[in-house]
């Protein structure tokens, strides 16, 4: 019977100890511990949500990047095409211009050559005439240097005219 009979003194001490324990633990242990555990759990769930969100954002960003890349590559292609066109046109133009210029130069040169040639021919003709007259004069002088020769000549000339 003693085993199951409550004891007043022990009840008092149990109550005192338990109440002190309850007060102290609630105030100085459970509150900070549960607070920290809750905060940490919130942090973890927030971090997980953030990671999920970031993943989504990354996906969107990646898609955007791909689009940008596509656009850029298309733009590049067109730019290259344009540049090629411009370049070939420039080459073409240069070729045409060069030809025109060359032709002009050639024709100018030809004209110069022609006129030079004409000049030279004219001078040559003049010189030739002068030389001819000089030679003729010298021959005539020689033919008429003596009387016999003047007479021979006159005879010959008369003979020629007679023959005619």
């Amino acid at each position: 019977m003693e085993l199951v009979t409550p004891d007043l003194g022990l009840l008092f001490w149990t109550g005192l100890v338990f109440m002190c324990l309850l007060f102290l633990l609630v105030k100085f242990a459970w509150k900070p511990i549960l607070g920290a555990v809750n905060t940490r759990e919130e942090n973890i769930s927030n971090a997980l949500a953030l990671a999920e969100k970031t993943k989504e954002e990354m996906k969107a960003l990646q898609a955007q990047n791909e689009n940008l890349l596509k656009e850029a590559s298309a733009e590049r292609d067109s730019m290259i095409k344009d540049a090629k066109e411009i370049a070939s046109k420039m080459v073409e133009d240069a070729k045409v211009n060069a030809k025109v210029e060359a032709d002009k130069m050639i024709s100018a040169a030809t004209a110069v050559i022609q006129s030079e040639k004409a000049g030279a021919v004219a001078e040559l003709k003049t010189q030739m005439a002068a030389f001819s007259i000089e030679i003729a004069e010298k021959i005539v002088r020689n033919e008429l240097s003596t009387d016999e020769k003047q007479k021979a000549l006159a005879d010959k000339l008369v003979e020629d005219i007679n023959m005619n």
């Binding site: 085993l3 003194g9 009840l11 008092f12 001490w13 149990t14 633990l25 549960l34």
Partner: protein, 369 residues
């Protein structure tokens, strides 16, 4: 499962007690009024599982003990060491109504005028204690002594304060980070009480208020159970009906003061029950309010006491046979039970807290109709 194991234990206890009383538990009366003792298992076990005013460490009557202070209220507070009883004058009184002889101790020094019989302090009349029907016929002053159980309560208190404060300090210092050291060991238990005991049984929006109470109950019982298993400490705190009574009353009060309209309506005007039947139902429901904590009180007390009794009974085998060789049988068995008791220590702390949460949960539950 727990109830079954408790019943098994009780059965074992009853067997042990019956055996010990019938075979060895007799006081042999010799011719000239002397009382001689054989090794008495029943007395030894009962002595060990009950409260005492000394902390017996080892040895027999002249062995080593810590004498705890005695505080009695008898026309003012009287405080003195219990050694004045344990080293007092042994007395023998004859019960005139039954003819049996009883041993008691008369106190000396400051304890003079008081006598101790089975750890209860009585006031002596004319220098002696008179017995009637095997019980002392004397006044017992209010005894607020620091008994073995009270000292053990203080130890539990200190352990809990030291451990929990250092855990709290860890979080204060490091913020809400992953636990390390002792916090790593304690935190899962705290989270377990919060999630699997409180949250699982009490409404999700209301459970937070009760977590501190359930945590305190859980750890108080757990630490008391465990310290009770340590040799030399081995006080039977949670195996004491007074302690479990107090804890059960706490749960009862929390339940009753948390009870909402729905809870009381189910007690005083159970929906769907015809009015005349309420005459029977109301008393039954009211008794039901009390039986729940009563079951809590008995369950914890019986489980822990039974564990202590089994271990003591197994160790007694050696002394009954007066041969150390029996230790080869009794020590492994006692060891096995001790390990089982560690499981029981956790299990009973969990059960007490879980059932408390269940009762509170039922009291704050909203109507579903």
């Amino acid at each position: 499962m727990a109830i079954k194991s408790a019943m098994n234990k009780m059965l074992a206890v009853i067997t042990a007690i019956l055996m010990s009383t019938s075979l060895f538990g007799e006081e042999l009366n010799h011719g000239e009024g002397e009382v001689e003792h054989k090794f008495n298992v029943n007395e030894m076990i009962m002595h060990h599982i009950q409260d005492a005013h000394e902390w017996h460490l080892w040895g027999g009557h002249d062995g080593t003990s810590i004498y705890l202070p005695i505080i009695i209220m008898d026309g003012g507070m009287k405080v003195f060491s219990s050694s004045h009883f344990y080293h007092g004058t042994p007395m023998i009184a004859e019960d005139e109504s039954t003819g049996k002889k009883h041993e008691y101790i008369a106190g000396v020094g400051p304890a003079a005028g008081y006598a101790m019989f089975h750890e209860t302090i009585y006031k002596m009349e004319h220098g002696a204690l008179h017995f009637e029907k095997d019980h002392p016929h004397a006044d017992a002053p209010l005894d607020f002594s620091i008994t073995k159980n009270v000292a053990s309560l203080f130890i539990t208190f200190l352990i809990l304060i030291l451990v929990m404060f250092s855990v709290a300090k860890y979080y204060k210092k490091n913020g809400a980070v992953a636990p390390k050291g002792i916090a790593k060991f304690i935190e899962p238990l705290i989270v377990f009480v919060r999630d699997d005991i409180a949250k699982a049984n009490i409404d999700e929006h209301k459970y937070k208020k009760y977590v501190p109470f359930l945590l305190t109950i859980f750890f108080f019982i757990l630490v008391s159970n465990l310290t009770g298993l340590i040799p030399l400490v081995q006080a039977n705190v949670t195996g004491n009906i007074t302690v479990t009574l107090f804890l059960a009353v706490c749960t009862l009060l929390v339940t009753v003061f948390s009870g909402n309209k729905n809870y009381w309506q189910h007690i005083f005007a159970t929906p769907g029950v015809p009015k005349p039947l309420l005459i029977i139902m109301v008393p039954i429901e009211l008794v039901g309010v009390l039986t729940k904590p009563f079951a809590l009180m008995i369950r914890l007390f019986a489980n822990i006491t039974a564990g202590h009794i089994i271990i003591l009974a197994l160790i007694s085998i050696i002394f009954l046979n007066q041969s150390a060789a029996w230790g080869a049988l009794s020590v492994p068995m006692a060891l096995f039970i001790s390990v089982l008791e560690i499981l029981v220590a956790f299990l009973q702390a969990y059960l007490f807290a879980m059932l408390s949460a269940l009762f509170i949960g039922a009291a704050v539950e909203e109507a579903h109709h």
